[in-house]
């Protein structure tokens, strides 16, 4: 499992999700903290392309051997692609949570929602206060 890190270029959501915005699209994933808390991921259940996701609402599930966790959408939009590699290699979420272990690519509905997200420093402050 990778070292704990919270890349500066990403935005963060309080449910321990990260967002990488590029143009009208964004990529979602879970943070190092979240994957560490979940333990080794064995199964990932994500929505199909075309499905709608809403900020603050659950859009999928991550399973470890003995636990199931909902994943929350940091932003609203329409699913463009789910990370298909996770079907066979769910451990990518643990091994490379900000890279190969991404979850969802979304066409954004309301870019104004981005304003509400945290930067890396604010997210780390949230983790420390918890």
């Amino acid at each position: 499992m990778a070292e704990e890190s919270y890349p500066q270029e990403l935005k963060y959501f309080k449910e321990h999700d990260w967002v990488r915005v590029s143009g009208d699209e964004a990529v979602f994933g879970i943070t190092w903290f979240a994957q560490d808390a979940l333990g080794e991921i064995v199964y990932v259940d994500l929505p199909k392309p075309g499905a709608a996701v809403a900020a603050g609402q659950t859009y999928g599930e991550l399973e470890s051997v003995k636990a199931v966790s909902d994943v929350y959408a940091p932003l609203s939009g329409e699913v463009v692609e789910a990370n298909g590699r996770l079907d066979d290699e769910p451990g990518l979420v643990n091994d490379d949570c900000y890279g190969e272990g991404w979850l969802l690519r979304v066409r954004l509905g309301d870019k104004a929602e981005i304003e509400a997200l945290m930067d890396a420093a604010a997210y780390q402050a949230l983790l420390e206060s918890a």
């Binding site: 199964y43 399973e63 470890s64 051997v65 003995k66 636990a67 199931v68």
Partner: protein, 437 residues
């Protein structure tokens, strides 16, 4: 021990139970007795019954008196199996876990489907769970069930799903087989039984196609002994197969405990209820077995679980595995053929009796139904006095079928017994005014 606990009396241990809910009188139960007295009492109760083995039985309808070989009792009686809990500590439960894995494999082989769970309670509850899978999978609320499915399985389905606002529609099964035209539109699942309650053989492939054309799942309720000679559900495209494994080495036991089995296609693995055992390795690469995909289950997913099932029928599944290993690849088809021949013989003999007509006219494998010239209930009573368990009165489940008798023939029935039974039935029917129904 009280001193170690730090109390002066046993009574102090209950200080936290409010006095108003303490029971201060003794329970109104008979006083305890010694083991020899207990044995005598149970022998008295047992003696007030007539075991099927003391009669000549043609009773079936979901419970069959196939011979249970001695090896089954020897193995299931081993206390390491019988007195263990669910194998939650895999390192100390490899025997139970491996036996479940081998059982799952046997059910997959029987049904021709790729995944089987570790067991359910019985066929009726397994059917209800199968329908719940289909409802979740399709998002639809209508279910189409043939009236040829065992009436008690259908009752269980209706009762257990009473809170889920399903529409359970019935497909007619008027002449011993399910009507060919199935209205499967907007349906979550189509359910047929093979062979059906009357022993009739269904066109499962056509029914499966009708279900799939309408976007429904096809659920096959099947008999494991008959699967020795009948096409397996996987061959005709069933999405889910369920059935009762009682016939596989489990005694009649007045209706339970039996064995619900369930097998599904790969697409439904994560919707399966109940336990699943998977193969894995330990740190040194040695093969071992564990409970797996547990996130489906109630102890982890709670209200989002695929089912509430916790205790299952593991020991009955072990009996089934031992029985199937005893019969083996050759024995199961031989047994299936032997039962089919004997059933065919008995049906032919009984149809020689005047005014006895076939209800299931087509091919049969162990069970069949006849129309009698008089209500079946009276005939059954009269023949019981002659030492026969003549069969099941279809009229107790189907309005208008009071004259239909459902009979099963296992390998234990001899030609001599069947000939004598035919004589007794002919005799009974020839007696005027003997209708005691």
């Amino acid at each position: 021990m009280l001193a170690a606990v730090g109390v002066a009396s046993q009574e102090e241990l209950y200080a936290e139970i409010p006095e108003t809910v303490r029971l201060r009188a003794p329970l109104d139960l008979p006083a305890g007795i010694s083991e020899s007295e207990l044995f005598a009492e149970l022998r008295r109760l047992a003696g007030a019954n007539s075991p099927a083995g003391a009669m000549v039985s043609f009773l079936g309808a979901g419970a069959y008196d196939h011979y249970v070989p001695a090896v089954v009792d020897a193995i299931t009686g081993r206390s390491e199996f019988a007195t263990a809990y669910t194998p939650y500590q895999p390192e100390r439960s490899q025997g139970v876990l491996q036996s479940i894995f081998e059982y799952q494999t046997a059910i997959c082989e029987l049904t021709g489907l790729p995944v089987a769970n570790a067991s359910m309670y019985d066929a009726g509850t397994a059917l209800a769970e199968a329908v719940m899978i289909a409802v979740t999978q399709t998002g639809r609320k209508r279910v189409l069930v043939s009236r040829g499915v065992h009436p008690e399985y259908r009752q269980v389905l209706a009762t257990e799903t009473a809170g889920l606002a399903l529409e359970i529609a019935e497909a007619a099964c008027d002449d011993g087989v399910t009507a060919a035209a199935l209205r499967a539109a907007d349906t979550a699942a189509v359910v047929l039984q093979q062979p059906n309650f009357f022993g009739g053989l269904e066109d499962m492939a056509t029914a499966a196609r009708a279900a799939h054309d309408a976007g429904a799942l096809f659920i096959a309720v099947v008999d494991p002994i008959a699967l020795g000679i009948l096409a397996p559900p996987g061959d005709y495209g069933a999405d889910i197969a369920v059935g009762d494994g009682q016939a596989l080495g489990n005694p009649l036991n007045f209706g339970g405990p039996y064995l619900g089995f369930m097998a599904v296609g790969e697409a439904l693995v994560r919707r399966l209820p109940g336990r699943l055992v998977g193969e894995t390795v330990d740190g040194e690469g040695r093969r071992g077995f564990v409970l797996t995909l547990q996130t489906r289950e109630q102890h982890i997913r709670r209200e989002k679980a695929t089912s509430n099932i916790c205790s299952n029928h593991a020991l009955n599944a072990l009996a089934a595995l031992v029985y199937l290993s005893w019969l083996g690849k050759q024995g199961l088809p031989e047994l299936g053929l032997l039962c089919a021949r004997k059933a065919d013989y008995l049906r032919a003999r009984l149809l020689e009796i005047p005014d006895v007509a076939p209800y299931t006219a087509g091919p049969i494998v162990r069970e069949f139904a006849l129309r009698l010239p008089r209500p079946a209930a009276g005939i059954i009573s009269a023949l019981a006095e002659r030492g026969y368990l003549a069969g099941v009165d279809a009229g107790r489940f189907y309005a208008g079928l009071d004259d239909v008798l459902v009979l099963a023939v296992t390998e234990r029935r001899t030609r001599a017994e069947m000939d004598a039974f035919a004589g007794a039935l002919a005799d009974e029917l020839a007696t005027p005014g003997a209708d005691r129904g």
